[in-house]
Symmetry: C2
């Protein structure tokens, strides 16, 4: 039985992408060679990289003057690269603190200079998105996290920033339309809506770079990778290939606008049941609820065993909440069909009826 | 027709590994989920990571007191991490310059402190391995490159170092026995004998770390990854999985000692033909010839078309030399069967006879 995969990441990918990826491991491009045993400088792989970059540009309507990079190291490496590339010596940066990952980004920036935290929801274990803060215009940049996987919160609007605007979109990129021109750097680990773990997408406005006065190590300088088209050194071939396939799948689906509508339907369905069903309650502030990660609790923990038995029997997996929030977390990324959400909702109703 | 894949890297991997990897993309561990859509903290993947680390320890007889890490960023990131982790503030390091990659490692270390180059073969386009140099005992560490893919040279012996010993073994690790206890850090991009591009193996002696007085960024500090068992952040799941499969294949083959004998046979066969056949000549100094990358030229370049037609027709691929050396480069890594080398030798003889 095929599982209903609600894993928070690495997470569900489209079935047809998995099929194509599996085939390419045996015979890529009909050359009787595996994708993973050819040179990254061979024509077939150069075409993959080029297509992946083009698809990002198309799907997000990336304006001219921006570069699209496929790097390594995940968001954690970007926590370092962003301040290295944007924070002037003796400069300062502004961050929101909306969860564990934002906190790590703040800690890394603090090694390089002053950090001002303007919005902080740690007082309620990050159950809401801070709003109404002012961003000092003399800061080098403002950094926010668009979606917080662990707590199930999501920025529904982005503030207007008087300085450079940087966003970690690891867990909701490609799930909804964003206006890239409002941002100077967007970054995202691949392993939610883009592909498997092992590559990091960076979208950067070229003109903001090279102004810090810092001696940036070669591999941590965005300009290194821009100048070499993400081929300065051997790129992570397979994660980039599968990202390209996933982006092509999204394009064929109708693009970000089309998937956004389906994502809204899935979220409405599940949050609707959480609010209706007296056995459950959501953990995030209603207006900040994530359309990617739906966190909820059983009001009566003695019903846990019964609920766990039900969803296990239905082939649901990856639904356990993060240890810092508890309860349940249903991640309903792009590749999750609404049918799987329907199965979960049905089980929640069954628990109520029993 | 299956190709004879002489690619320099990413390069040939064992057929049975490719088959297993392809299967795991569709259904891993019989859980009806893909390897690339499950949490890296799930039991099945934690077991993969643990097995990969154990196999490295077994195959290289890694002594106690060393850690085995699977990181990202390739050797290029290690060019930065090594001096960051070992070079004291106001310290110095000693490097050999044996090719493009060594030169890049030197350039990166120079950003952080003084670098003394004790052996340099750039005078002959790196056609030999420098020897007989002395390593200053007051340096923080000595760095060398064991095999130079582009030029087809290989260190047959390692110098005795009065200071810490670091080696970039990207292109010959697991191809021959090495005494790990003679080294303090060994690192290697996966994409030659270990697996696909996207992960970097680091073997580090724990006690040499934490002594520089530097403020090392979290992701660049080996101790970060040691303390979290290479799971500080989401690891590159697929490249690590395929590395584990390849290391298991090597263990089943009989281990490093067994493959070393086969590698010697393959190299002897090909170098024997290069030396015997009046149409060809090798480019590397005979005593420094690499058993991984065999570089050679046609004495008469007007025979190039005829030779190219012959090897193309035989299904040989990836044999073009690097642009900085020209001619041909046959990479004969662990997974290359001797039968493919025999095909190449036969074609060299055919060209002579025609």
């Amino acid at each position: 039985m095929k599982k209903h995969n609600f894993s928070a990441g690495p997470c569900i990918l489209p079935q047809e992408v998995l099929k194509q990826a599996s085939d390419a491991i045996l015979n890529f491009n009909n050359d009787n060679l595996s994708l993973i045993e050819i040179s990254h400088r061979s024509k077939p792989f150069v075409a993959v990289m080029s297509k992946a970059i083009d698809l990002v540009k198309q799907l997000l309507s990336v304006p001219k003057g921006y570069s699209v990079l496929f790097l390594q190291g995940g968001a954690s490496m970007e926590f370092l690269m962003v301040p290295l590339n944007l924070m002037r010596i003796n400069g300062k940066a502004v961050y929101t603190n909306t969860g564990v990952w934002a906190k790590k980004a703040i800690a890394e920036a603090k090694r390089l200079g002053e950090v001002i935290v303007v919005g902080d929801s740690s007082d309620t274990n990050y159950s809401y998105i801070p709003k109404g803060y002012e961003i000092p215009s003399d800061a080098d940049y403002f950094h926010c996290t668009s979606n917080n996987t662990i707590y199930g919160t999501q920025m529904k609007e982005f503030p207007t920033s008087p300085t450079l605007m940087v966003c970690d979109m690891s867990s909701d990129i490609f799930s909804r339309t964003v206006n890239v021109s409002e941002f100077d750097i967007i970054y995202a680990g691949a392993q939610k809506n883009m592909g498997p773990a092992g590559t990091t997408l960076v979208i950067v406005k070229n003109e903001v770079l090279g102004k810090t006065g810092r001696n940036i190590p070669t591999m941590l300088d965005y300009n290194t990778h821009i100048s070499k088209g993400s081929m300065f050194n051997t790129p992570p071939v397979f994660p980039i290939y599968v990202s390209m396939l996933t982006l092509q799948w999204l394009k064929d689906f109708g693009g970000v606008e089309a998937i956004e509508k389906v994502n809204q339907k899935k979220a409405d369905l599940l949050y609707g049941e959480i609010d209706r069903n007296p056995l459950f309650k959501g953990t995030a502030a209603k207006e900040d609820r994530s359309n990617m990660n739906v966190c909820f609790l059983l009001n009566d923990s003695s019903k846990e065993d019964a609920f766990n038995t039900l969803w296990n029997a239905a082939g649901i997996s990856g639904i356990k909440g993060h240890r810092s929030v508890g309860g349940y977390r249903a991640s309903i990324y792009n590749a999750m069909p609404i049918e799987s959400v329907q199965v979960l909702v049905k089980i929640m109703k069954t628990l109520e009826q029993n």
